[in-house]
């Protein structure tokens, strides 16, 4: 269980809230680069951390992320005309550049300086990999750009998708560090999903449904190690890194691409699940990339032209009781992503954690909540920069390794959980 006042702190991310201010210390995904595919592309409406914004790529290729609403009468700039280095409100023609600066007010005299005094709130928007990243905090404290490996490898080695999840970010994120659900909820996928199946490690997973856990601090967050019996005298370890506040990676399987997530608050009752797959040393095969586009692995099959999954709350996630009965889809819903989202959304928009009955196996979640709360209150009360802001903290990988039973997992696998450019992931 979690006390209500702590749950409130962790789940509220609007401006001025402790967790909202903490999220505003980081570069976070704002949207996919594919949403603004060319110079002068149509603008994109998006809401982040409870703020309504519009993203655009002007005719010169500059990215902007500005207040959605025109300073004049409050019309949405999503209707704006993206023309000649700025976005123009079609209502009365006010025009803004990518910094939010108003550059033209047609009703004013040609030599008027009125526009100079009009500026919308704007945040930086930077393309790294397949993602456009923003920083929504104090410009004076803007940290260095993020250095996540999935975003830095060559384009042919990486793929990122996103989906709308209709619940608070925290309950979605908590699924990312909850190793014990995989053996049940995703058991069908271990056998059949093209991006999971065939790894030797899957058999360890399926043979041992009661893993032991170790939860170890890292500079940026945590490493959660789940250990299962392997061959005589050895353990199979699946190591999940969490970098604060919202980055998780899934331990790899065989030579499949390695994957992970960012959980980004839209508002307090919705979030974006960004899901990535990459391979550090080779291009994704055509079959792998197609499987990701088709919604396999950690990705979802979305309604064309949107980032809403085809299987969603409004159609009971296309529940299939027959496949649930046979175990092909353990919960009766198809695919890793929807298996997670359906159950996490079923908890309600913001789950009431005062009602939980946690077990020791939930210690990773307990510890993560504690670290988030400590960091948010340390920032609020003492101005302490939270873990995960420093790009050095981004240089992590998940790992799946077989170790002698007497070895401490983070001692034996200390290099396996670091980014080693040009080196493959440690995987079984």
């Amino acid at each position: 269980m979690l006390r209500k006042e702590i749950n409130d702190v962790l789940t509220r991310t609007g401006p001025g809230t402790p967790m909202g201010e903490m999220f505003r210390q980081y570069w976070i995904p704002a949207c996919l680069a594919e949403e603004l595919p060319e110079d002068g592309a149509p603008p994109v409406r998006l809401k982040l951390l409870g703020e309504r914004l519009v993203a655009f790529r002007d005719s010169y290729g500059r990215y902007g992320l500005i207040d959605e609403f025109c300073a004049h009468r409050g019309a949405s700039l999503w209707f704006g005309r993206n023309e000649e280095g700025g976005i123009r409100c079609p209502y009365h023609g006010w025009k803004y550049d990518t910094t939010g600066q108003c550059v033209e007010v047609p009703s004013e005299a040609d030599n008027s300086s009125f526009a100079e005094n009009v500026k919308l709130t704007a945040y930086p928007l930077v393309k790294i990999g397949d993602v456009l990243w923003t920083y929504m905090g104090d410009p004076e404290k803007q940290p260095p750009l993020p250095e996540w490996e999935f975003a830095l490898v060559p384009p042919e080695q990486t793929y990122t998708s996103k989906r709308w999840q209709q619940c608070n970010w925290l309950q979605a994120f908590e699924g990312g560090i909850d190793s014990s659900h995989v053996t049940f909820l995703h058991s069908g996928g271990l056998k059949s999903d093209p991006l999971f199946k065939g790894a030797k490690g899957n058999q360890y997973n399926l043979n041992d449904t009661k893993p032991f856990f170790e939860v170890a601090d890292s500079e940026g967050g945590l490493f959660v190690g789940a250990r299962r019996n392997a061959e005589e005298g050895q353990y199979y370890w699946r190591i999940t890194p969490w970098v604060m506040p919202n980055f998780t990676m899934v331990p790899p399987r065989g030579d499949h691409p390695i994957h992970g997530h960012f959980w980004v608050p839209i508002d307090d009752e919705n979030c974006w699940a960004y899901s990535f797959d990459y391979h550090p040393v080779r291009a994704l095969t055509e079959a792998e990339r197609q499987a990701m586009i088709d919604g396999h692995g950690v990705h979802s099959k979305n309604i064309p032209g949107t980032y809403r999954p085809v299987a969603n709350m409004d159609n009971d996630y296309l529940m299939n009781r027959e496949k649930q009965r046979t175990g092909e889809w353990y919960s009766g819903t198809e695919g890793i992503a929807i298996q997670d989202s359906s159950l996490q959304e079923s908890m309600g928009p913001i789950v009431d954690r005062t009602k939980e009955r946690l077990v020791p196996a939930d210690s990773g979640i307990i510890k993560a909540r504690q670290k988030l709360y400590r960091a948010a209150t340390a920032l609020r009360d003492k101005g302490v920069t939270p873990p995960g802001v420093n790009p050095e903290h981004h240089h992590v990988r998940s790992a799946a390794v077989v170790l002698p039973q007497k070895e401490a997992f983070l001692d034996a696998a200390s290099e396996d959980v670091k980014v080693r450019p040009g080196m493959p992931v440690s995987s079984v």
């Binding site: 170790e214 296309l318 908890m347 309600g348 009955r357 077990v359 020791p360 939930d362 510890k367 983070l410």
Partner: protein, 169 residues
């Protein structure tokens, strides 16, 4: 078989997850779900467990491991009173072991074995954070690893409190 959506009955489909529908969730007090036994495995841990025991708990009892010889373990209550392992585990549903060094390795073995035989869940916290040497903490982790279903190697005193709170002991 695919279930068709009946929009006239929001409570009968996944839309029941809305904030509005959440009002209808059964709201009754939750009884403590775990009878917790918290055991300090060494003297350093005993100080922390003693302080933790002074807080308000619903269904937790606190002990210090006095000695261990193979499967035989002698416990005493945190207040110094005698305690019998078999009696204390009879009604326990989770045992949380707290250590600062490997001096309690024998206790961890005996306690872990007794819990395993009785199907009692175990957790272990190794207190580090500069209060004890890294070597001692590492040795404690190694000693606890085989016997704790969940292990927190870099824990501090607040972790002990937070884990017990989350478990509702």
């Amino acid at each position: 078989m695919t279930v068709a959506l009946d929009t006239s009955l929001p409570s009968s489909c996944a839309r029941a997850a809305s904030a509005q529908e959440s009002r209808y969730r059964i709201d009754r007090p939750i009884a403590p779900s775990r009878a917790g036994r918290i055991v300090a495995l060494d003297d350093g841990a005993a100080e922390v467990v003693a302080r933790t025991a002074r807080l308000e708990w619903a269904n937790a009892r606190f002990y210090v491991c006095a000695s261990a010889d193979g499967d035989d373990l002698v416990l005493r209550g945190i207040d110094g009173g005698p305690a019998t392992l078999a009696d204390e585990l009879a009604s326990a549903s989770v045992v949380v072991m707290v250590a600062t060094s490997d001096s309690g390795a024998g206790c961890a073995y005996a306690l872990g074995k007794a819990c395993w035989e009785r199907g009692i869940q175990t957790a272990g916290l190794v207190l580090g954070n500069g209060t004890h040497s890294g070597t001692a903490a590492a040795a404690a982790v190694a000693a606890l690893r085989p016997h704790a279903r969940v292990l927190l190697p870099d824990a501090d005193e607040l972790d002990v409190i937070d884990i017990l709170t989350a478990l509702r002991v």
